[in-house]
């Protein structure tokens, strides 16, 4: 019954599908991000309280969302590789890790830029940014663990286990950080809150979010092809594929 699933997950198949999907995903991303940028930066009205500063949200919120989504994808792909022993799961996890870490960095930088007009400094221990920072540490942990093993198979499995442990901990970390922050409300730090939005502000945001997701998918396909070639370099189909 599951043979179709295993066939789906065979390396040459994954390689072909990723090659096919990438340009479409990139195209969709370009359209959605294009609309989002124009509508959000040019056409959406400035926020009542935050003025034009809030516009950074069009990059910050999607980046933060993607950083979490990518980590979850990495953990799920790793789990597929660890539990069902499907090697492409590990390939997806390895391909997605640096992309997710980059989104986390982007989220942190844009969050810092957003905070500057609000707090006067580039960093304050806002709960969302602090959670993002800890997520970055989790990414670094997984990305450092994989290459530390001499046998790449063991490295994959260890990284998968760590990603699963991390994904279980992410809600706990999130909760504990916002609990910690709420205790110390004495500090006059305005939280990076998404203002309640009318449609003209909301649609560009949703478009950016969808655009980022497609972008993530496109980059994942591209990196995945490289991962597959590297992992399967002994196989004959790879030699054929490289020739063409």
């Amino acid at each position: 019954m599951w043979t179709w699933f295993y066939r789906l997950a065979s390396p040459p198949h994954v390689y072909r599908v990723a090659a096919f999907l990438a340009p479409w995903l990139l195209g969709a991303a370009a359209v959605l991000i294009g609309y989002g940028v124009v509508a959000g930066l040019v056409f959406a009205p400035p926020d009542y309280q935050q003025g034009d500063a809030f516009r950074i949200i069009y990059v910050h919120a999607p980046a933060a969302w993607l950083s979490l989504f990518a980590y979850t994808t990495m953990a799920v792909a790793g789990a597929i590789g660890l539990i069902w022993k499907i090697k492409m799961g590990h390939a997806v996890a390895a391909a997605t890790a640096p992309i997710g870490a980059s989104f986390t960095l982007l989220g942190l930088m844009t969050g810092s830029l957003w905070g500057r007009p609000m707090w006067g400094t580039y960093w304050a221990w806002d709960p969302r940014l602090t959670s993002e920072l800890i997520l970055l540490f989790l990414y670094v942990g997984v990305m450092s663990l994989r290459p530390a093993f001499e046998d790449p198979g063991r490295g994959d499995r260890a990284a998968a286990l760590l990603a699963i442990v991390g994904v279980v901990n992410v809600p706990i970390i999130h909760y504990s950080v916002s609990w910690w922050n709420s205790l110390h409300q004495g500090a006059t730090v305005a939280k990076l809150a998404i203002p309640s939005m009318p449609g003209s502000m909301l649609w560009p945001l949703l478009s950016m979010l969808a655009g980022f997701m497609f972008f993530y998918g496109a980059v994942l396909c591209m990196r995945l092809r490289g991962e597959v070639l590297n992992r399967e370099r002994q196989a004959t189909w790879v030699r054929e594929a490289i020739k063409t």
């Binding site: 001499e150 046998d151 790449p152 198979g153 370099r233 002994q234």
Partner: protein
Amino acid sequence: MNPAASLTVDQVHVWRGDRHVLRGVSLSLAAGELLHVWGPNGTGKTTLLRVICGLLRPEQGVVAWLGRSIVAIRSEFQAALAYASHEPALKSDLTALENLRFAVGLKRRVSEAELRASLDRTGVGRCADLPARVLSAGQRRRVAMARVLAFQAPLWLLDEPFTNLDVKGSALVSQLLLEHVSGGGLALVVAHQDLSMACEVKRLELDG
């Protein structure tokens, strides 16, 4: 495959990174049989042993004990097996007796007298209360062999059991193997030298 075999290894493949270390290795071992696995360095002898123990899962192939896959009957299989690795695997801060007690005690109930008897049998009875740190390499190998004896397990998997042993020590190990196998036990021995045994020895060569 011999239907009366107790241990069967069927078409096992293992890759270490890019290296295809074990290529379709098969063997079968029945009660009363001794198998000598030999071959040059790096051909996967230790890897094969670890696959049979269950420490390493092969990418392909099955290891079966009494007809059932060892993955399905893990604790039963481990209870029936005595593994001696290339290193003697002793805690240097514990005495020889304590080392045995903590190892064998996990597998079966055993009295101190039995453990001392095993140590006597391998010629290191006097070392029973000495910390393993002060024992020579040969004495540690003998303590490891005493542990194998004390497990009272039917399947022995020994990796280079003659290392660091003098002529008398090697003769002792051969004698113990002979007794074990004659008593209906099974033994798989990895050794790069020839086994001079009084009984019939099956051989498997791994040549990479």
